[in-house]
Symmetry: D2
Amino acid sequence: MSHRKLRMGMIGGGPGSFIGAVHRIAANMDGQIELVAGSFSSQPEKSRQAGQELYLPEERVYSSYEEMFEKENQLPEDQRIDFVSIVTPNHVHFDPALKALKSGFHVVLDKPMTLTYDEAKELNRVIEETGLLFCLTHTYTGYPMIKEARQLVINGVLGKIRKIYVEYPQGWLWKSFDTSENKQAAWRTDPSKSGIAGCMGDIGTHAFNLAEYVSGLKLEKLCADLQATLEERVLDDDGSILLRFENGASGVLMASQVASGAENNIKIRIYGDLAGLEWQQDDANTLLLKYPEQPDRIYRAGANHAYLSSITRKNSRTPAGHPEGYLEAFANHYLNFAKTLQAKISNQDPDPDFLDFPGAEDGVRGMAFIENVVKSGKSDQKWTPFQL
Amino acid sequence: MSHRKLRMGMIGGGPGSFIGAVHRIAANMDGQIELVAGSFSSQPEKSRQAGQELYLPEERVYSSYEEMFEKENQLPEDQRIDFVSIVTPNHVHFDPALKALKSGFHVVLDKPMTLTYDEAKELNRVIEETGLLFCLTHTYTGYPMIKEARQLVINGVLGKIRKIYVEYPQGWLWKSFDTSENKQAAWRTDPSKSGIAGCMGDIGTHAFNLAEYVSGLKLEKLCADLQATLEERVLDDDGSILLRFENGASGVLMASQVASGAENNIKIRIYGDLAGLEWQQDDANTLLLKYPEQPDRIYRAGANHAYLSSITRKNSRTPAGHPEGYLEAFANHYLNFAKTLQAKISNQDPDPDFLDFPGAEDGVRGMAFIENVVKSGKSDQKWTPFQL
Amino acid sequence: MSHRKLRMGMIGGGPGSFIGAVHRIAANMDGQIELVAGSFSSQPEKSRQAGQELYLPEERVYSSYEEMFEKENQLPEDQRIDFVSIVTPNHVHFDPALKALKSGFHVVLDKPMTLTYDEAKELNRVIEETGLLFCLTHTYTGYPMIKEARQLVINGVLGKIRKIYVEYPQGWLWKSFDTSENKQAAWRTDPSKSGIAGCMGDIGTHAFNLAEYVSGLKLEKLCADLQATLEERVLDDDGSILLRFENGASGVLMASQVASGAENNIKIRIYGDLAGLEWQQDDANTLLLKYPEQPDRIYRAGANHAYLSSITRKNSRTPAGHPEGYLEAFANHYLNFAKTLQAKISNQDPDPDFLDFPGAEDGVRGMAFIENVVKSGKSDQKWTPFQL
Amino acid sequence: MSHRKLRMGMIGGGPGSFIGAVHRIAANMDGQIELVAGSFSSQPEKSRQAGQELYLPEERVYSSYEEMFEKENQLPEDQRIDFVSIVTPNHVHFDPALKALKSGFHVVLDKPMTLTYDEAKELNRVIEETGLLFCLTHTYTGYPMIKEARQLVINGVLGKIRKIYVEYPQGWLWKSFDTSENKQAAWRTDPSKSGIAGCMGDIGTHAFNLAEYVSGLKLEKLCADLQATLEERVLDDDGSILLRFENGASGVLMASQVASGAENNIKIRIYGDLAGLEWQQDDANTLLLKYPEQPDRIYRAGANHAYLSSITRKNSRTPAGHPEGYLEAFANHYLNFAKTLQAKISNQDPDPDFLDFPGAEDGVRGMAFIENVVKSGKSDQKWTPFQL
């Protein structure tokens, strides 16, 4: 029995949203998902406008997500949405996700999972209870060469891991903004919308997730130095963290949103007792394998490269040398989620190569990371245990 | 009056096609186009299979493009396809394109335009006659930083252009292939399907198009050295060409498909009497401006960069540092084509920033390039004039 | 009155010494210094052998540095050495340096200054007392683009400094060595020869010195996480340190000698409230200036580049594009030291552009860094004040 | 029997000479050579001034090279110069080299060998006749990774060579110069001093030499397109050449001195039927090995890398990650020349790893290259045979 195209409803992502547009492109790209409904803004007029620009029929554009859940569930099963994609600011993650699940819809949710750690635990409970699929879009683990990196670690190529450096330098909050003009800056620097962390919630969680994903190691304790660089800032806009992992490996996580001139070059380096690896977003199709007494090797993304793992190749759309980027990494999460959901709907066994997308555990750990980082940041003690 | 989503029918792109999948991703990405019909293979069973995998209704999957044109024209205007996307090998470009135009459908066509130069001129005549839109997918001019490069030349930043180096080194035809197993290699090395040139038709035309696009200069004469490196090859699999442009600028075009280990790093360097520029696909989001007595400058793609031209920014989907790649460059041609076609359908003036996609003139010049390169390759004379 | 070539005596640097050969090349390069004497090993036979290989007359090759100081002082003034270059392991820094000074010879000394902080303070006292010239070869501040970086900071191009990342990843101590075969590894992992720190003394001090040199800021407090990764190691072979500088800027220093596959790519990034800069040894002739809303700029080393500071240009030997490297950076310290010493000898005012070489203050601060890092590494408190 | 330090006399290299200073640094660096005499300018006063700045005794600074040859030969054998280093403009190469040889002195000569091809043949004859050592300083073959590249070709790693791209883009002659102020530009654009070629003599010969050196192939025919870009130029300041080598391999040589903003990034790429290699001066310590179906490999310069050939390692002074550059490459020619000459003087067999420096054959072929390029540039025929 063959699969069918999945139907998506979107929550948030109205005029001016950066991440909403990214989610739509990612969902569109591979032709497995169709946007059929949405509640794009808490202001009904804006939602309507967004729906029109997205060529949706008027009756599938809703004034609230509650309305969407209700009305969609009144539609025949072969028309109603299969899942929702939630792309709102952090403080509007928990409620729509919870209600979507309780209304029987699978969920794709932008990170971080929720506004608070408690919400994350509760959401996780409901996900487990309902048995519905849940994907948290930690973009960077969608990159094919990050998947390859993880496979190389699993296959023992690096040996025992000793050292993890992960960094995410940005500069876009380098100066004061008129927050009425810069919505992105406005909500991210507002604790009521962003949560207890700024930079660490927004991008630190990505770096943390990437480190644990590639290394396969769990963080054990940490020592954080957080900054609110600009006087007006209530939340951290920069921070550096010493890390210790469960196997004794040490590391450093650096994240900044005030590194003037830096763009978005998230980078990870992991060193084991046999070899090391390096990857950075600015050269995303390259993974560098470093050896102590041999030439380094350049692994390159490409659906055609037999030396790459099958997972890596299935997360590539083109042969080597046709650069794929951020949007394709994002789309890989949607593709993996879609393939898994299609199999579920068809009562088939999913292709194991497509099961790899971030989920509730990543979300809960991410929220715990925020909790622990903020706690450590305030502590005079060097080490704060990573508590779940 | 608002626009509507466009309906696309595809010709070719069945199982195993590389470029068909690329076209579909490019068409899907921005949510302006919906694939609603197709004739995906000359073998009806394969076409049907492709249609099913693409979630098309059976009745919109056709056994031939002739059938598609006829049946689609019998559908109500608000259901029938607006345009076709033709992604077949070169020898199946002319006929479907011609018939599509004569059936009233706009056309997106993979490059090179046709099998022969005469076909290209005839197709061009029909395009002009019908007044329908035509887009030829020379991928690389879709890159935002290539559009920026062109704007910088137009704005005089480089001064008078002196020198153009353009290169396209590939290695994928480095050895003999069992052509029954490698379809891509099979048709590209077969003159009946590829035309009178191999490497020069497949990738040399891209390099030529890129050079003329960025520089704004027309080629005046050329001196080609073509190779059929492997004994079994009938067509060139490698070549280098000395170039002279209309303003006296000189240049070199290098293309190879037997450069063992090379991937796909098309690169252009242009030097004027004030400054130079460099761009290569492996670092596609960077454009390097080189100055004789000042620090070089790194222009970076990004919808947010106010220093970039408005055209460049509209061909970017993300802020700087979120790498876009080959698929986005491809999608830009579809997006520009779509926006222009939507305006045409709505009887509106198109946004001038979206008029920039390769068309019939590029196609005719590309076919003339092939003619002239092959002629020069056989000549004992140094210079062969570029004849249209 | 013109200058004269300076006469150098070397202490250490016998067979198998890496850094001895580097010092000789650096001293030779610019033709301002002649090696005329030496005590190359504590084993007289090895010293003799080294002297012979270096084409020195037998009578100027000594069995001990004490002998060298005594005998050289018996030579006529126009033959005797002007200064000594001390290139022994750390535990043989203090005594020869002290005795050289007390014998009236200027001193060039490899880093770190001494085995202990107390020795450093004492040596510093004697340097001040004697008024003799002292150069400590912190290689990396000899790079022209590092000098340019410092000038840019001084000139306010970066604005107020917020963030300093400095890293020095090496992998050469990645595994256990037979220390009878690997002399470099042997003494560096032995506290009696290396001091209380391993990695932090060997390369952490370089990173620290580089950060303070370029930023012009003094470290105020720190939080160190040190590792002795291999079981056999007594001293740290890896460490990461959170930093806070006197103006409130924060930072991170990472150094490792067990980062398998890493070579020697010391790197510094500094972000101010106006702009940022990046430099790394693997691309030593490039300094990247990063701006929030303008294209980044590539500053390139080159004696011909008028946009560079005069200090930078005088520390370059070739026009842009002729890469200078590690040995030239090292030679710049010798050149600056030599020019300053020549002026002193001639009772002339030295060229201020050549006064810039690391000296006693760098040495004392480097030893204090080691003290404070080790102290912080053992502490449960997050912050350890940087105490002099 | 041990070696001794060699004594060098220099011809040319007075005030304002770029290449004279480079030769001196290169000769100094390894402590095998001492500059003891010189005739630094045709103007005695300038020669004297240079000698003084170089700390030479007055009596060893000569007014003419003829005087130097005569007077040096009157000195005792253990004081007189062993060889001369000639660093004058092209039109003053033949005469001093010839007279040096005839006076019994070995010769190091800057490239190109002579002003004319006939001079080169005559000089070659005299070199053979006298049996004296001769080194022509084609800098780029002194780079360790270029030596490694040659070894990899010799060892068959690339298989049969198919394609050679070599390029040398410079921009320093991008505009008109007041030649009274810019001596470098003045003589290089003057046929009476530079010879029949400008750019092709100055840097094209380097690219040609590099291509033949690494590939081990001899050029068979060529097709040149030369430009005198600026109206005032008599000689070429730019050119591109199609190449065919003896084994059928094809190639392209590009050289320019008017590529505005380009520095000096000479680059070579060679593709065989098994693998390809890439090297460029801007990343001189890296050699990229490219494989069709495996990860590429990064070979890195370093005296410690056991995977490198013994020749490569002996031409490196430091372990991997301590970048060596242009001056070290230059110094390698002096070092190899010196080691060979020391062996000759000592009647010992030279170390075969140090025999590798460019000599008379390179010089004669370089001059033939100039002849043939200029001839081809004027020809209407596509191919001009490479005639010796």
